[in-house]
């Protein structure tokens, strides 16, 4: 287990103030925060590259705050590839083994194993500047993981990749984590956080403002920063099921007994569904429209927002709609009233997880 105890660092414009959190063995922990708030500084403090001004870092109950970088057994992979440009892929991957004076046989065995795992056999003798973004990240991961680090630190590893590679690397990261690797990942992308994290820590103004599962964070945001993310109230974990009929582009998203129809090209599997409150339509009677999702439910909450009114309706799950005060009056909405909720399949955003 990794434990940070009141870590404070002041470095130029950044100031991290008494950062504390625990990461359990095998956990995927994502630190989510805007760019330029010192997330990398925190990661480098864990790795030992920056010495914190205050606080302690424990790894498996051992205080590693003053332990040598080389002896911490913590690997780091950065956003921009950090492969050594004067070495080929093979030389890069075996670099840590040479540092640790592994025998030739050990190097060969470990190399073969990691190369198979990442499916990078064809890249071994390629020069670094001939690799694509996704290949670079794969090699960087392979080079770090060949040392079997206790903790893998990832500094925005997907930010510089295009969409295709991003999904591939995400799936690799999930697999590594399923295999037992503890991961601390920092990002400014909430979708990335949702799709990968077991738990998310929100970083704001040099502090951790909230820690919780994606569900807890997005359903009950403790700060404006998290609340600024789109459609936070309508956030559901469930399973997407692809319909096999070729003339339909609609998939089913099942949350317990409830099924939403959504427009998505995602493959079948579990994940999260996000619906913006602004995209939910409320009516007193069922209406015929292009909205493929129509549910009857009871109003359980009416909250006045900065702009408009947020209506929470129980349709089997809680769903929030943002409407105007005029609509509230016109539809005569009150607590306990039965109303209809509808939204278009295209309004739903699925994030694989």
């Amino acid at each position: 287990m990794l434990k940070l105890d009141k870590i404070s660092v002041k470095l130029g414009d950044f100031e991290l103030q008494k950062i504390s959190f625990d990461v359990e063995d095998g956990e995927y922990f994502v630190l989510l925060g805007e760019s330029g708030i010192g997330k990398t500084v925190l990661l480098e403090s864990i790795a030992g590259l920056i010495e914190p001004d205050e606080g302690k870092i424990f790894l498996d109950s051992e205080n590693i705050s003053n332990k040598k970088i080389q002896k911490r057994n913590i690997g780091i992979v950065y956003q921009d590839d950090s492969l050594f440009p004067h070495m080929n892929v093979r030389e890069n991957i075996i670099y840590p083994l040479k540092c640790n004076h592994n025998s030739k046989k050990e190097i060969r065995d470990k190399l073969n194993k990691i190369v198979d795992k990442f499916n990078i056999n064809s890249l071994l003798y390629r020069k670094i500047n001939t690799l694509s973004g996704g290949e670079l990240q794969k090699v960087a991961l392979a080079r770090t993981l060949i040392t079997n680090p206790k903790i893998l630190l990832l500094d925005e590893p997907l930010s510089s990749l295009d969409v295709n590679f991003r999904e591939k690397i995400k799936s690799i990261l999930r697999k590594i984590n399923r295999d037992g690797q503890t991961i601390v990942h920092i990002t400014h992308d909430y979708q990335e956080a949702i799709s990968l994290a077991d738990r998310i820590g929100i970083m704001e103004n040099g502090k951790i403002s909230q820690i919780g599962t994606p569900d807890e964070i997005f359903r009950h945001p403790k700060s404006q920063f998290v609340a600024n993310f789109i459609g936070i109230k309508n956030f559901y974990r469930g399973k997407i099921v692809i319909k096999n009929k070729s003339n339909e582009d609609i998939s089913d998203f099942n949350i317990e007994d409830l099924t939403f129809h959504i427009l998505s090209d995602a493959k079948s599997g579990v994940g999260f569904l996000i619906l913006r409150s602004e995209d939910i339509i409320i009516s007193n009677n069922p209406t015929k429209s292009s909205a493929r999702n129509n549910f009857r439910g009871k109003v359980i909450d009416i909250a006045h927002a900065k702009l408009g009114v947020e209506i929470t309706v129980d349709i089997g799950v809680e769903i929030s709609a943002l409407i105007t005060k005029e609509s509230l009056k016109l539809l005569d909405i009150d607590y306990g009233k039965d109303i209809w909720v509808s939204f278009k399949a295209s309004a739903a955003k699925f994030i694989g997880g």
Partner: protein, 265 residues
Amino acid sequence: MQKNKIDIFQLILIFLGGIVLLFILAPLVGLFVNTEPSQFAETAQDSEVCSSIWLTIWTSIAMTLIFSIFAIPLSYILARKSFPLKGLVNGLIDLPIVIPHSAAGIAILGIVVKGTILSNLAKKIGFGFISAPAGIMLAMAFVSIPFLINSARDAFGGVPERLEKVAMTLGASPVRVFFTISLPLAWRGILSGLVMMWARGMSEFGAVVIIAYHPMITPVLIWERFTSYGLKYARPVAVLFITICLILFVILRILAKKKNYVETR
């Protein structure tokens, strides 16, 4: 209209630049043109000239290699570390470039004359500085070392610090990081600095002549022949020396032109 303006401006640039090139080339070409092949051949067989050129080459190469052992680590420190008075140290390194070289020679003479710590130490080991190759090397190094330090410092500065950090998290010791990451990635700049230091040292006259008139390095020999016998006798020596320097310089520049990994990415 605008196109014409650009053309005229470019013509002015080319004209002004051309004058500079002519200024550099004309005296050198004149030197070659005014030297008869027979004189050139005769000079090439002159044992005094040959031993002087050989002395100049080996002392300049040796001083470059010896002083690089001290200069490269200093360059790395200047590129990577922050410390009080760093600006002053950087300024100090450029000092040998701005002071007159004869004055530099006088200054060096002050630390190598009889009775100084350096001269006593050298005497114990079995060599001396005055009128000796060691003195020549010291004078050459003093005036040329800024070229290596500045070039190597910039080259180390160009190596992404992140690569060094990653290497450490992968288990590399600071020594291994220096030799396997920083040095190879900065090598092109360092090599270029070594070539510049060597070239500048080899052509030094002012500082060397004060410490070691004898044995004569070629710049001193050219001066000696000019003052004693005149232009006719000095010119073939200069031509021969310039030819050899140019050949060596071109070869080293080609070697130094190896692909720079950091810049090409």
